[in-house]
């Protein structure tokens, strides 16, 4: 009997500890891996920038001339274009100040820099992807579906808006239903900013008529008139929706259909949740206007 007790206690402890170990181990491992990959990226970006500076300093005197001839009105657009292109156009403008050979060196330098800039640009979205991956996938999957009235909808939905607030819900979910009127108010408010609220009710997937009818009733009862859409549950978008395990969950997507920030769990009828969502909306707006 004593042996039984000891084994039971031991088994219990092992289970408890393995559970704790699993959870902690996984989270700390992912945290450290993301940290290390971020460090690797930062390092390469630094290296690339150093290479650019080397190229420029190799022909210091010539580039000084280019820079002094430049138009000092640096605008948003010049900043966001490739630095290599920017240099090329500057060299082009000041072409008559240089000999053919000098012009050739400058253009090859600028082209090298353009190539490096492209590498750096390629790094940035990869970094976004890494942080977004933690928030279940980076972009909303390709889909073709329709709204509850039967009008076809696909991914072009995102391109039409500066940002899109996507709310996942289902008919039997009380907190989901209770925020429908708040989501409608949000939709009206963000229209002016080029935003839109879109609902995805998991019970309406595969054009399930019963689910659609019930959803329409609930939306009408709550006075919500924003778009609700559905698609096939077997599609990638369907899997995305069905993988969500806490409802309501609200995502903010940018114009390209990429996730902005962490998805919000819980209804926006609570003030702190609305504030969290607003943060994501602000980030999406800032991202869109920077383009």
């Amino acid at each position: 009997m004593k042996l039984n007790r000891v084994t039971a206690l031991f088994l219990g402890l092992v289970l408890a500890f393995s559970l704790a170990a699993c959870g902690q181990g996984a989270s700390s491992a992912s945290a450290s891996s993301s940290a290390s990959s971020a460090a690797a990226e930062a390092k390469t970006e630094e290296q690339l920038l150093a290479e650019e500076n080397e190229i420029l300093s190799a022909n210091d005197a010539l580039w000084e001339k280019v820079f002094s001839s430049m138009d000092k009105n640096v605008t948003e657009t010049t900043l966001s274009t490739n630095y290599g292109d920017f240099l090329l156009s500057a060299v082009e403008k000041a072409k008559d100040q240089f000999s053919d050979e000098e012009y050739k060196t400058l253009t090859t330098d600028a082209e090298k820099i353009r190539a490096i800039e492209e590498q750096i640009a390629a790094l940035a979205p990869a970094e976004d992807a890494a942080s977004g991956a933690a928030a279940q996938g980076t972009a909303f999957p390709q889909f073709e579906g329709s709204d509850l009235e039967g009008n076809p909808v696909d991914n072009s939905l995102f391109a039409g808006n500066a940002f899109t607030v996507v709310n996942f819900w289902f008919n039997g979910c009380k907190p989901c239903v209770e925020e429908l009127d708040d989501l409608n108010a949000l939709n009206e408010k963000i229209k002016a900013q080029g935003g839109e609220v879109v609902g995805i009710n998991t019970e309406t997937l595969d054009s399930n008529q019963q689910g659609i009818d019930a959803a329409k009733k609930l939306l009408a009862a709550k006075g919500a008139s924003y778009r609700n859409i559905y698609f096939a549950s077997g599609s990638e978008a369907g899997k995305f929706a069905l993988n969500i395990m806490a409802f309501p969950t609200t995502y903010v997507f940018d114009r390209d259909g990429n996730v902005v920030g962490q998805p919000l769990l819980g209804g926006i009828d609570k003030e702190e949740n609305l504030a969290a969502l607003q943060k994501n909306i602000d980030a999406a707006l800032a991202k869109d206007s920077a383009k």
Binding site: M1, N4, R5, T7, A8, L9, L11, G12, L15, L19, C22, G23, Q24, G25, A26, S27, A134, A135, G172, K174, V177, E178, A214, L218, A221, L242, N243, M245, A246, T249, Q262, P263, L264, L265, G266, A276
Partner: protein, 294 residues
């Protein structure tokens, strides 16, 4: 004592509890992934108290499912889940508490932690609390405290159940940042309940089962009519009282062999010097089992 021929069920109860807990939460990799199994197994209820939102859960919790259905605007009563519960109750009664319930096992393991152990004999009136929890939190509030669309909250799950925190909120929030961010006052409150149950379990034997569990209350109602019963052979019984002393659920089996509180753990069988107590399963003649003491 160990040499006695003891019913294997009672003898290997700890292993059966461990096995049942494992089977109930079979999807172990989900703990690391922080996701839930959402397949067709979740259309069926497990017999014990086991949170639907446990990453490993293979089925739904009967208490949670019951509240979800009667709290929805579509239905007023869940015949399907009540039917499953009655089936479990009639087949096994509170044998489920003693052998199959993961949260019962959890409390028993905690009770093995060395500490001064306190008797619950004087706290017997608290037993009736669990029927109130069943009636008020599981049935009445989800049914009646509804919004304008007829939707209610699962009050027991939302405000009381410590198993939900232990199996759902804690493992999920460890691996899922979104859920971690969503933890609020409600989580704090229920974590306090869980902590109280944990501390209580160390000093008392199964306090949650005795006083609060609505699922145990439901099975208790069916314990008397369940097919799984205790049988006391009055010819063998020497009325030594060892069984009543050994019973941690405060039942005197010689007086009431099918008491609502009996979880069929078999500790009385182990204590009985004359092997007068046996498990009995099925219909049939009970004349031999009835007590003549009263």
């Amino acid at each position: 004592m160990d040499k006695k021929k003891l019913n294997p069920l009672a003898r290997f109860r700890g292993f059966i509890q461990a096995g049942a807990t494992l089977l109930t939460n079979l999807h172990l990799p989900n703990f690391a992934k922080g996701t839930l199994y959402q397949g067709s197994g979740k259309y069926v209820c497990v017999p014990g108290l086991n949170c639907y939102s446990c990453p490993g859960a293979a089925g739904a919790c009967p208490v949670g499912a019951f509240q979800a259905v009667i709290g929805s605007s579509k239905f007023r009563f869940s015949y399907y889940i009540t039917g499953i519960l009655i089936l479990f109750g009639v087949l096994l009664g509170r044998f489920i508490c003693g052998f199959l319930c993961p949260f019962g096992w959890f409390q028993e393991l905690l009770h093995k932690i060395p500490s001064p152990k306190l008797s619950t004999k004087k706290l017997k009136p608290l037993r009736y609390l669990k029927y109130a929890v069943l009636l008020v939190m599981v049935v009445l509030l989800p049914l009646l405290a509804v919004n304008e669309l007829g939707m209610g909250d699962p009050f027991f799950c939302k405000y009381l159940c410590p198993q939900g925190v232990l199996e759902g909120a804690i493992p999920l929030s460890l691996t899922n940042a979104g859920i971690r961010a969503a933890l609020g006052k409600l989580f704090t409150w229920k974590a306090c309940i869980l902590l109280a149950v944990i501390v209580g379990s160390v000093v008392f034997y199964r306090p949650f089962c005795k006083w609060l569990c609505p699922l145990g209350a439901f099975y208790a109602l069916l314990n008397k009519v369940s097919l799984f019963q205790m049988r006391v052979d009055t010819h063998k019984c020497v009325s030594c009282g060892a069984c009543a002393k050994a019973c941690k659920m405060d039942v005197d089996i010689t007086k009431t062999p099918n008491h609502a509180e009996c979880i069929r753990c078999g500790m009385c069988m182990k204590a009985c010097p004359t092997d007068a107590i046996q498990y009995k399963f099925g219909l049939g003649d009970k004349s031999n089992t009835e007590t003549t003491k009263e």
